[in-house]
Symmetry: C2
Subunit: 461 residues, 2 copies
């Protein structure tokens, strides 16, 4: 993506058609139909993706389907917000092939089934909005993008240290030293591959949605185990946590208009034409009205972490770039997340103002060294969409995990049942541990990934 | 500062005069003359700034002068990099006046010496580059900017919660609730005032330097105690740490071309004309040469935390926007810091490429609640310019503090002597605790601030 592309895409040379003012949203809470629990009682299936080299990850477009796999269990619940599930999931074995130095790529591709060189595991959750199309495409596509990106750098990943030149040719005597000083490690290549894969997948979704006349976007949360490390890549408001006997550790951060306020305001500062004169980039404690004019009110701009007071001018009365707070915060009055895939065509209602320039498809990636962690049998990662975290805190989930697993040591399906139990806990049952019996009316999807023995992928090359 | 201002200032409509390529810098280490220790043996003076209401903070433009004050001691050493000390310091009592509601500002100003309403303490270190002019201006100016900014919001600071309207008039019944939901606290106003004060001071320095035909810039590290809290505001590569009996806590982060790589690369992505075709915004492990063309080499772009490989094109051979690593990293081949005050006229040598658009004057602010901390008698904050931290780690400084203070409990000058001792430790003495006898050839300035009883300012209104 070049700067020229950014400008051509988002900054047309001529003046924008005069947009109508955005419809005021007194209550920006998204529409939610009453919950309709389905399929949560299903037991995990038996299909074992790890038996199939280069297996296409299992995708579950159907509602409430348990994702069967022996190394991670998912449970998905549909809140019936749309006909198809807006939450989508995928998991499977990740098989990375090797392109040997000196072998022409064409020759390599002639081998129809080259032996896998590195293997890992892949889990992904996608929470769609504006329909399930982007989430379904992401569940079908992202793992392929990731495999391609990893195969492009696999030679560097298995070197003691990634070489300056991937080909291995033309290395100057001074190169290894330079690379060493920069401290570039194999894991940095996996992080880079995850970042590139998210972007590639975003481009694929953009093309596919445009070609098929569909719309929509989705968040993406991905966990990958590879070479003894766990990578968690997040773009959106899903969350992954590590739960051990004595520790609860967040493995991701949420990206919303509130958490990315300064980045979003700064873009509007640098390119005010993106707001087409309809929005103010400034943050106020509430939307300003005519009789605030001339008053000194609290505000924040892009460079401020703290608050200050300013004298209200006419332009401050416009609708705020980011409005509302907590779960109700919206970007341009429209979107509750600031990172994800898709949304290429999304505009503010009845205007030509695009949301995409303010969105990032690139994830934040956390790396966990499992060799150092030495996971015990009940150390797990819980990945879930926002529907779970709206009503359960990290600590509440950890308490549920610790109260469930020790009493079910003999149960071969216990991780799947734990995922089901966590989903049940968001549905307002009598014994629900949520504060004040809170109920989630959103789609909820949960992966439970046991970490014990996950480091074994290391020995596969 | 508006977007229009940004564009007028940094993006001239016509094409830039063709610049000459920047001079290659084989070794971007800044010029350093051998150290020349002076004045480090001086004992602290007796002038007590806290006796003088609205006292102008003590500034020390002279070399090696100990800053006398009963609540914080400074020691400054000049490495003789320039005729005047490039390190400057200021400290003093901060006296905030109150403008009462309903009293016209004109009337308020008629009172020549209005009684102070809130008092706090202020310490600041400025590390100049390109001469001492900006650092001297900052030491003379920043405290006044801060006092002005604090006085503008003091009514909000002393309210239970900052009100939506500063005037107290026209508050709607719904306002307090809105403000409360945003969770805005009095300390957010102090953070906002520090951010605004740094920006105001930067503008003053820009005007003053232009008017006097001088040049230069400086980093700024400020500590303020107010209403039972300690605020540390940092723009540059100085550092403050808290040292207690069982704890060493960083109170600031450094802002350099390396730590702010993604922000700087992103601006170059959005406004490539800022590089005038002379630099590449991409990061490579080393500078590329002609025979790298066509090779796949490691690189990072603005959206990447990880690394990837790309095929080298002609444009990748340009000088990198950020080059070198660690202490040698330079922005546009010129500057080792990415935040600070001044540098309004700074251009890449022999070109029209300006550095200012890539620099931020806004500090990052850390808040420490001293009431919660309950500081003991030997709990201190150590503030120092990079000359100290180049050769001593946080832990080494903490060990020196803990080995010095307990044995000197009866010495009234012990904090000043500790500051001197820390400076001595950077000068390669035989008993130096620095690794491998490292010596600092840079200016070094140190404040030692005892925290015990600092919370007393709270009772002053």
């Amino acid at each position: 993506m070049s700067a020229d592309w950014f400008r051509r895409r988002f900054l047309p040379g001529g003046p924008l058609p005069a947009p109508r003012p955005p419809r005021p949203r007194a209550s920006p809470v998204p529409y939610r139909r009453p919950r309709f629990l389905r399929g949560s009682g299903s037991s995990p299936g038996t299909a074992d993706a790890s038996c199939r080299p280069n297996a296409r990850p299992v995708r579950s477009p159907v509602r409430g389907r348990a994702l069967p796999w022996n190394a991670g269990y998912a449970e998905i619940i549909n809140a019936e917000k749309s006909e198809f599930n807006e939450d989508q999931a995928a998991c499977g074995k990740l098989c990375i092939r090797r392109f040997e130095f000196g072998v022409e790529e064409d020759q390599e591709w002639l081998t129809l089934c080259p032996e896998e060189f590195l293997t890992g595991h892949y889990w992904a959750l996608f929470d769609g909005h504006g329909g399930p199309a982007a989430a379904i495409l992401a569940a079908n596509t992202l793992h392929s993008c990731l495999r391609r990106q990893l195969e492009a750098v696999v030679e560097g990943m298995v070197a003691t240290q990634p070489p300056m030149h991937l080909s291995g040719h033309c290395i100057r005597p001074s190169d290894p030293q330079f690379v060493e000083e920069k401290g570039i490690r194999a894991e940095d290549l996996v992080v880079g591959a995850l970042e590139s894969a998210f972007q590639e997948c975003d481009e694929v979704i953009g093309r596919e949605l445009e070609a098929s006349g569909q719309v929509g976007g989705c968040t993406a949360l991905v966990a990958v185990t590879l070479q003894g490390k766990l990578y968690v890549a997040n773009a959106g408001d899903s969350r992954a946590i590590l739960v051990r006997r004595d520790e609860v550790r967040p493995l991701s951060s949420e990206f919303t208009p509130e958490t990315e306020r300064q980045r979003i305001q700064q873009l509007a500062f640098l390119y005010p034409e993106l707001l087409a004169g309809e929005f103010t980039r400034l943050e106020f404690p509430r939307r300003l009205k005519g009789d605030d004019l001339g008053q000194k009110v609290l505000f924040r701009d892009h460079h401020m972490s703290g608050w200050s007071y300013k004298c209200v001018e006419q332009s401050d009365l416009k609708y705020p770039l980011i409005h509302g707070q907590g779960r109700q915060a919206r970007l341009l009055g429209t979107l509750a997340v600031s990172r994800g895939l898709g949304d290429h065509q999304l505009k503010v209602l009845d205007t030509n103002i695009q949301l995409k320039p303010f969105l990032l498809s690139v994830p934040q990636v956390t790396v966990l060294d499992m060799d150092q962690l030495e996971p015990q049998e009940e150390d797990i990662v819980v990945m879930a969409t926002d529907g779970l975290w709206d009503v359960l805190s990290n600590e509440q989930v950890a308490r549920l995990v610790r109260s469930f697993l020790p009493g079910n040591r003999e149960d071969p399906h216990r991780f799947s049942e734990l995922a089901q139990m966590l989903i049940h806990s968001t549905q307002g049952k009598d014994d629900s541990p949520t504060q004040e019996g809170q109920v989630s009316y959103d789609d909820v999807s949960v992966f439970v990934i046991p970490l014990h023995n996950q480091g074994q992928g290391r020995s596969s090359h």
